[in-house]
């Protein structure tokens, strides 16, 4: 079975900083990683391949340096990597991204075999929209299974799949027909290490590079900034709290006295709280 995993290279949010003046994210010098949510999708795909045979292709749209993330995915054990890269894609929002990825997925189908399953992560850590996966599903007419916690059953011959989906208030068991788009939930598996052979193969692999034209995209107006109706009007950092840690001296105080000190200290910084409490006490 041919499985495609769509993934994104994102700045490592643990090491990111916001510019104090412009409030924009300072990407320069920040190391990039594979969007952590995508790794759960990748592991699930590799696991299915190991069980059922076939190939895993990883696909990403991004700048040329996104090749690094693809190579890493190959190290984990993916069989093929496709990088969709073109100036025309710069500034894409989720609508334009799903348009381009859907086109690339069509092309992948023609070149390397139709994939009955396309995976994406639940969402990205830099955009957090969770829209690209469903966008792709809609454009390609794939049944979509989002927030999947477990693939309970997969029958390629019958063309059916059963999954457990985490939903508000419980777990849904869903069955549908292939082909599907699955967005994997986090924490459901752990990405493997990759054997020495995988690492060696990855280091020497040729990453497939497609421009918009290579992917068969003719409507450039639907790509990049031009094809993106979303406009970021303003970016701002949440106000940091001025108060940090307040110390209450403990020497020579009994526990009761200390409790009173602490409450007094809290009321000093939060006068409304005291009012509320007094009103509440009076009401009783």
């Amino acid at each position: 079975m041919h499985i495609v995993v769509c993934m994104k290279q994102v700045p490592d949010s643990a090491q990111i900083r916001v510019h104090p003046v412009t409030n924009t994210i300072m990407r320069q010098g920040v190391p990039t990683i594979i969007n952590p949510y995508d790794l759960f999708a990748l592991e699930e795909a590799l696991h299915l391949r190991d069980r059922l045979g076939g190939e895993v292709t990883v696909l990403t749209m991004g700048p040329p340096m996104a090749e690094e993330s693809l190579r890493k995915a190959l190290t984990f054990g993916a069989d093929r990597a496709v990088l969709l890269t073109d100036r025309a894609f710069a500034g894409s929002d989720t609508l334009a991204t799903s348009f381009a990825l859907a086109a690339a997925l069509n092309k992948i189908g023609q070149e390397f075999g139709e994939p009955p399953i396309v995976f994406t992560g639940k969402q990205t850590i830099d955009g957090d929209t969770a829209q690209v996966g469903p966008g792709i599903a809609k454009r390609l007419g794939l049944n979509q299974l989002t927030y999947v916690a477990r693939i309970a059953d997969l029958d390629p011959a019958a063309g059916t799949i059963t999954v457990e989906r985490r939903a508000e208030g419980g777990l849904q068991v869903l069955q549908t027909r292939l082909p599907v788009l699955i967005t994997m939930l986090e924490g459901v598996n752990e990405i493997r290490r990759g054997s020495l052979d995988d690492a060696y193969r990855a280091a020497r692999a040729q990453v497939v590079r497609w421009s918009a034209a290579d992917a068969g995209i003719t409507e450039l107006a639907r790509c990049g900034l031009k094809g993106s109706p979303t406009i970021v009007k303003k970016v701002f950092a949440p106000q940091g709290r001025a108060e940090k840690v307040r110390q209450v001296p403990t020497a020579d105080r009994s526990a009761d006295e200390l409790a009173v000190d602490v409450i007094a200290a809290i009321f000093r910084t939060q006068p409304p709280l005291e009012d509320d409490l007094l009103r509440f006490a009076a009401g009783q």
């Binding site: 290490r193 054997s195 020495l196 052979d197 060696y200 280091a203 020497r204």
Partner: protein
């Protein structure tokens, strides 16, 4: 198992491993390089000063695209007591030359750049792959390595160990004894960020000019060690290190020393307003010539810190690493051309070639220094105090006549360290320096 067989496997992607891998790959050898870090440089710590000469001999036009911070135009040597320093500064516009001699660098960036060159030259690099042991044939010849990945063996005609100071692979494989605490220093270092302009005005610099400060004295609290402050483009590297056995004896902590160094009244203003964004600790092999392990054997060669190739007095390490890596690579290429095996006898050529370079000449010249410093720790405490007191007596204008001041200074030296002591130190130092 990787089915391909390699001409050489290089362990480590620091300066020594990269120099070796580059030298061989460029000559068309099939090279596999294994690095345990997430990327080359992710595990590595250095001050860091890059000495151009050693790199020029490997990549002559490295200045075109290497990530260099500042070229060094001023060297400051400080002898410090608790409140003062006596300094020797050398600054020269001659260092503003077309091809400067020394640069400050940031290792994480530099190692990545160097590794890019290695891969361009044709070597295959696998990161996040730790070599766990050497593989041998029944005759005991090294024929490959085992790694921590599944199916983790790979084979080659020769294995070059550029694994750094700890040298666990070599140790585990019985190529060398365990490190001794009195032959390694433990150094800690921080990167403090400041705007370019602030650094340039604080250190009296223009453009990409840089200053480096090396410091010794009471900052190491009687232990054998030194501190340093280097200027990068938008940050200052500050660090301090002492011999591990001294730390063990004194019970002092490395970060405690660094905090005190940073608080020193001569240092604090240099860091004022900076943001510390990185903290690192690393060992430095400082045992010198006498602590060197065996450097080669049947099917293996040791390069860089793993072979104790550091000149602690001059704070040179990366250049010895690059030079030993290059010479090891050249030796392997030479053998390959002659269709000869990497036997112990044939690899002796590596050491013969090294003897012709500054590496062995310098290490041999300073072979007595580590021991001298070990036995004469007062050098780090007594003299800085005496020197500072002398300077203060001399420069303070307080109605005491100059002859009396001279006498006072002489007296303080005699009572601080007795006349025989003074003469003895001078003689011993001269003898170890020779």
């Amino acid at each position: 198992m990787i089915r391909d067989k390699f001409d050489a496997i290089v362990v480590g992607a620091g300066p020594s491993g990269n120099a070796a891998a580059y030298t061989m790959a460029k000559e068309g050898l099939k090279v596999l390089q294994l690095e345990r870090g997430e990327y080359p440089g992710s595990k590595n710590v250095q001050g860091a000063i890059l000495y151009a000469d050693a790199l020029e001999k490997i990549i002559p036009d490295f200045r075109e695209d290497a990530p260099l911070e500042r070229h060094v135009i001023e060297q400051r040597l400080w002898t410090m007591d608790d409140t003062s320093y006596v300094g020797m500064h050398y600054r020269s516009d001659d260092f503003n030359e077309e091809k400067p001699n020394r640069y400050t660098i940031i290792r994480a960036q530099f190692d990545r750049w160097f590794s890019g060159k290695v891969r361009e030259a044709g070597a295959v690099l696998l990161c996040e792959t730790t070599v766990t042991e050497l593989l041998r044939d029944p005759q005991g010849r090294v024929i490959g390595v085992r790694t921590d990945r599944d199916g983790g063996t790979a084979f080659a005609d020769v294995v070059i160990l550029g694994e750094g100071v700890n040298g666990l692979v070599g140790q585990r494989s019985g190529l060398r004894p365990e490190l001794k605490p009195d032959t390694v220093a433990l150094a800690v270092k921080e990167m403090h960020f400041l705007p370019r302009e602030v650094i340039e005005s604080r250190f009296n610099l223009a453009g990409n000019e840089g200053v480096v400060i090396e410091a010794m004295g009471t900052i190491t609290d009687g232990m054998t060690g030194t501190g340093f402050i280097y200027t990068n483009q938008e940050s200052i590297s500050i660090g301090i290190g002492c011999i591990v056995s001294d730390f063990a004896e004194s019970g002092r902590t490395p970060y405690g020393l660094l905090e005190a160094f940073k608080r020193h009244p001569s240092v604090r203003p240099l860091l004022e307003g900076s943001e510390c964004k990185e903290y690192a600790a690393h060992l430095i092999p400082e045992g010198g010539y006498n602590a060197m392990p065996e450097l080669f054997g049947d099917g293996w060669i040791v390069v860089g810190d793993a072979g104790q190739f550091v000149n602690a007095v001059h704070r040179e390490g990366s250049n010895l690493a690059m030079t030993t890596g290059r010479v090891a690579g050249e030796t392997v290429v030479w053998l390959k051309r002659r269709r000869e095996m990497a036997t112990k006898a044939n690899l002796a050529e590596y050491q013969r070639r090294l003897e012709e370079t500054f590496v062995m000449k310098d290490l041999r010249k300073y072979r007595r220094i580590p021991d001298f410093l070990h036995r004469n720790k007062h050098i780090f405490g007594v003299y800085p105090k005496l020197l500072s007191a002398a300077a203060q007596t001399w420069f303070r204008v307080d109605g005491v006549d100059k002859r009396a001041k001279e006498k006072q200074i002489f007296q303080s030296f005699r009572s601080g360290r007795t006349l025989p002591g003074l003469i003895g130190d001078a003689l011993k130092l001269a003898r170890s320096w020779r």
